[in-house]
Symmetry: C2
Subunit: 266 residues, 2 copies
């Protein structure tokens, strides 16, 4: 199902060539990614976009309803305030729309907020920044109560060196060596606003903010920082990897379940 990309101000949907609906609703979703194959609709797989589309189409009796997401999150990634939008002519209040959605949504994804927004607002194109949080649990033993939301790395990671290395990644860089498959024609240059590494007992939290990210970029950054924390590679090695712009230097991507999309800024 290709994504509908209405052009700003045109009032037309470029795919269907139909006039856009009167209202554009911004929906903030929280979801636990464990049992979803990511955001984007797929045939024969349970996705967030899939279940939210079904809930809204059914609840608002609008068969052509199309929901636009702020990003394609990978399978297993969680979100605290994922932003989506959809065009509709419904006369229901925002509170009612949220209620209609939540009545039909399963427990692992719910709308936590709904707002009226400009007709040309687009959850992905209008995004000015995203904040991700990655949790690593360094306890010696595997912790069943933490397993859904953090990556178990049973080593004494050096948080200070991880933080220093994180700072090297801030700013504008070609992140080819920190990216999964690149879409053809898409620039590998991205700007990271900040990388913050903090520790609370056995838990290390990595927060990364930036305008947009390449596929798997935050998870590869995290995997690389964990390698630095263990002492397998040095901060200098990371600089060399970044400068190489060479995919063959990519370190391991940290698993999806430790990652949470915290917020999207517009």
């Amino acid at each position: 199902l290709p994504e509908v990309l209405p052009q700003a101000g045109s009032g037309m949907c470029p795919q269907t060539r139909k006039k856009l609906s009167k209202r554009n609703i911004k929906l903030i979703l929280e979801f636990e990614g464990t049992d979803f194959h990511g955001w984007q609709i797929q045939k024969d797989a349970r996705t967030v976009q899939g279940v939210v589309t079904d809930a809204l189409r059914l609840g608002l009796k609008q068969d052509d309803l199309h929901i636009i997401g702020c990003s394609r999150t990978d399978a297993g990634v969680h979100a605290e305030r994922y932003c989506a939008n959809f065009h509709t002519d419904t006369k229901f209040s925002l509170e009612t729309i949220k209620g209609i959605a939540n009545t039909r949504l399963p427990d692992d994804v719910k709308a936590v907020d709904a707002e009226e927004t400009d007709n040309d607002f687009h959850a992905r194109h209008s995004a000015k920044g995203k904040q991700y949080r990655y949790r690593i649990n360094t306890s010696k033993e595997y912790r069943p109560l933490l397993r859904r939301f953090s990556w178990h790395v049973p080593y004494d990671l050096n948080c200070e060196v991880m933080q220093q290395t994180g700072h090297c990644l801030e700013g504008e860089h070609d992140f080819t060596a920190f990216s999964g498959a690149l879409e053809p024609g898409k620039s590998p240059v991205r700007t990271i606003e900040s990388v913050t590494v903090s520790r609370d007992n056995d838990e290390i939290t990595i927060e990364v903010t930036g305008r947009s990210f390449l596929y798997k970029m935050v998870r590869i950054i995290t995997g690389t920082l964990a390698d630095v924390g263990r002492g397998s590679i040095s901060a200098d090695d990371v600089k060399k990897i970044l400068d190489s712009k060479d995919k063959s230097n990519i370190r391991v991507a940290a698993p999806a379940h430790g990652l949470t999309l915290v917020e999207v800024k517009y």
Copy 2:
């Protein structure tokens, strides 16, 4: 499967009349209760005792291995440091025993510690105290990321009044009006050491400590305190309910998934 209750110092198992094994191993388990039908072994239901027994019997090649738990937790209740013990003649080190168990245990229950203990140590009978934590999430909207570990009560609960009421339950009382089904011949008198109610933004945490508790007692205390927090009943009403010793006055039991057994003291 009836529980084996070896008498202190007898060195005999009262059930099998066999000499107890040379070693008595204390195992600390962490588990997420979501997919377990509680601790106690049941036919045709997945229980913590069931999966831990299977893992140890298989791993230690000891078909008569019987694991004793510190309490029968209800279906859905979690544990951070659940204590269990079992008798064995294995010569493996504690670290190896833990590893053997963890290799065979599923991700939602793992051994986080193993200790050598006296032959007459009994995880339930020797317990001197238990600490439980109950989490309530008072945010207006349902929160998918919190749903496995907290009870959603979308009201502005008065934490101070809940704390005052909690103090009324401290000390020795007949808790008939705060208990699920009582076992015949079992005293309904229990001593609560402390009830602490605290708030962190939308999250209210109730911690209850005491030597032992009646069936569903912590969950009924929590349900009652939530009613007090909402203003449905007063602290005085709770005192009257306690004094009534009458089961017909029982308020609702808070759901199991908000409850965690934090620690057992010996």
